[in-house]
Amino acid sequence: MEFVIISTLNGLSYGLLLFMLSSGLTLIFSMMGVLNFAHASFYMLGAYGGYTLSGLIGFWPALVLAPLITGALGAAFERASLRKVHVYGHVPELLVTFGLSYIVLELVQLIWGRVAVEFQPPALLQGPMFTLIHHPVEGLSWVWGAAGALCTDSSAGAVVCSPFPATRGFVMLTALAMMGSLWWVLARTRTGLIIQAALTHPEMVEALGHNVPRIFMLVFGLGTGLAGLAGVIGGSTFVTEPAMAATVGSLAGAFLASLLIGLIQTYAVAVDASVLDLLEALGMTLSAAARENSIIKLTVSQVAPILPYLLLVLILIFRPKGLLGTREG
């Protein structure tokens, strides 16, 4: 029972991290029509930037500063390169970001080396957020933080303690806060309305005196900044290495794909992310639960890595506008 809860929460937190990534991707895609192939590269830049900055000024300032820098780099890329190929159509735009992903990967290896760097979360986030205690007599209970002496108390038989890491909890909290504020900005503020209008009626928005190319630049900066934020959190929770972009890249693409052409439906991305990752988490659960049966264990744990891709392809074929997207005409 506690295993199911913890692994569900773990799955959810990873899903929410991917959601943070894909919300930036979806933002850029639905606003500008640009499928940003280098999005995961900005995620990686955020992680490495966060790593370097947290060594200089501490984790919490880095958490703010690294996404800002990543966003600024993204905006600069849009200004210098993406805007130039905008006239050629969407495929060259995709190709430009594809080329950028090569360059960023090589630059990261150039600056930070080819092996993983040790990006530690701050002391506050180290250790468990809460601990589930399965006591043979008193049943299931939970305490904030580490359980301490409760787990080592063996007078009443085996006590099973399942800690939930604080970093994972932090991932979930940040993602939820970001989802809320993003939705609020886009749907409830004047800026958000102008951004939405710039997508559907660029000429009209321009006629009203707004600088549409600059709006696009800011949107791109915002999207890559979100990727940078996800990078700082993901890098400190998981691992910061040159392969990290490739690991999350196609997965983040999966969620975007389920939302093709749709407007910003951030809640839909969240559902997609969770469903996908829940599947992966459930795959793990099954494999461990059926540890006695080696055949079941083998197949389920082997199939688990391809489930997201399978789901991606299926969603793209049957619901290209996302699980909660509008129906195709």
Binding site: V85, L95, G99, A257
Partner: protein
């Protein structure tokens, strides 16, 4: 487009000349470049040509941006390798020279299977589905070790069956001529395909799918057929690769390979038929020679690609064709000084930027070997300020001069284009 340029009627002399030249180059190449490395590279170039041209059937002719082309070359390669092993074991009676066709059949089969779902959509959705398929297959390649051979891959021996007229495909040169023959036939067939009604309607599907639907074609079927044909030729390339390397590992279906096909097809030029041939040659040169020369080759490649997309989206082929047009109107002599100047400045800028990049890489990877490194005949000290400042100074100067020269060149170029337009109008009026 280049189409109209060589269309002499009724007997197309230009085309005969070009194809005979191509055949002669294929025949003579191993006698000009005689080393073992050169033979191996020429073989790889032939294979890459087929793969890139098949890929361009999708990208250039059909407007389908595929991120999973290596799936079809790779799976074709695996099937060819299994067929080769069956021939070696004696359970299959097939001449080794026909093994690539088994790969082609495999590519066709998987394109038939996976392409049905892939080609239901076009544009970005198509790109995403191919990406998903590529990830799916490369994830599976480590799961089913009976077929894919796990980490080690599947290896075989191409000297199998009875030799035909003393040809047993042991020496590399024999394999090269087999590959050259396949390359010539496949290139010719792929060119012929662009002239068929299906090839033409594929171009129409790329340019205006809505109108194609109006005149009664099913765009989905057209894409599907094109996808299967591309899959067949990719499979042949994969099968030739299996014969050439005698080993097939999981990386042939990997995302990096798919990315390389996309990158080099585009660099060569997706809008012209012969563009991918240039791309394939560049691909082998870069991945064999450039990767030997510097560890940062992917960085250079990415930069070149980025600038190519930004400034010459037609690739190398379009640059060649534009200059041919200028030459055919007799204006090239006005530009060659600019080309020499731009070229020299670009080389200087690249060298000094390269010096920086190589010094950083040296500090990252080889700092145990001491601070000095050799670069372009110079010895640089990666720890002294002088090397960094010197390279930076040269870089800034070269870039500044390059920008000045580029502006002058741009003015000349635009002027010449205007003159050519006027000349064309004048000739029409005659």
């Amino acid at each position: 487009m280049s189409r109209a340029v060589y269309a002499f009627e009724p007997y197309n002399v230009g085309r005969w000349i070009i194809w005979s030249l191509f055949a002669m180059v294929l025949l003579a190449a191993p006698w000009v470049f005689k080393s073992n490395l050169a033979h191996s590279m020429l073989s790889q170039m032939g294979i890459a040509m087929i793969a890139c041209l098949a890929y361009n059937l999708l990208l250039g002719q059909g407007g389908m941006l595929s991120f999973g082309h290596a799936v079809y070359t790779g799976l074709g390669g695996y099937l060819a390798m299994h067929a080769l092993n069956a021939v070696s074991a004696g359970s299959l009676s097939l001449p080794v020279s026909l093994i690539p066709l088994v790969g082609g059949a495999g590519g066709l089969f998987f394109a038939c299977l996976l392409g049905y779902v892939t080609t239901r959509k076009s544009g970005t959705t198509f790109a995403m589905i191919t990406l998903g398929m590529a990830e799916l297959v490369s994830a599976m390649s480590l799961m089913f070790s009976e077929f894919f051979g796990g980490e080690a891959g599947v290896s075989g021996n191409r000297v199998a069956g009875t030799p035909f007229m003393g040809i047993n495909f042991g020496p590399q040169i024999q394999v090269y001529y087999l590959i050259a023959l396949y390359t010539f036939v496949c290139v010719a067939l792929l060119f012929a395909f662009t002239r068929t009604p299906l090839g033409r309607i594929l171009n129409a599907v790329r340019d205006n799918p809505e109108r194609v639907e109006f005149i009664g074609y099913n765009t989905q079927h057209v894409r599907y057929f094109a996808f299967m044909i591309a899959g067949f030729f990719s499979g042949i390339a994969g099968g030739l690769g299996a014969l050439n390397f005698e080993i097939v590992t999981a990386e042939v279906v990997g995302a990096a390979r798919s990315g390389a096909y996309l990158l080099f097809t585009f660099l060569g030029g997706a809008t012209f038929f012969f563009g991918p041939i240039i791309g394939a040659i560049l691909m082998i040169l870069a991945s064999v020679l450039l990767s030997e020369l510097t560890k940062a080759w992917l960085l250079y490649l990415g930069l070149v690609f980025l600038f190519m997309v930004m400034y010459a989206p037609g690739g190398m082929a379009s640059l060649i064709m534009m200059n041919l047009r200028v030459a055919s109107f007799g204006h090239l002599r006005r530009l060659w000084v600019a080309y020499v100047g731009l070229g020299v400045l670009a080389v200087i800028a690249l060298l000094s930027a390269g010096a920086w990049i190589e010094m950083v890489y040296h500090l990252q990877l080889n700092s145990a070997l001491g601070p000095t490194l050799k670069f372009a005949g110079m010895t640089l000290d990666a720890l002294s300020v002088r090397s960094w400042f010197g390279a930076g100074f040269v870089l800034v100067t070269a870039l500044g001069l390059f920008e000045l020269a580029r502006r002058q060149y741009r003015r000349d170029w635009d002027e010449i284009q205007v003159q050519i337009e006027q000349e064309i109008k004048r000739r029409e009026a005659l």
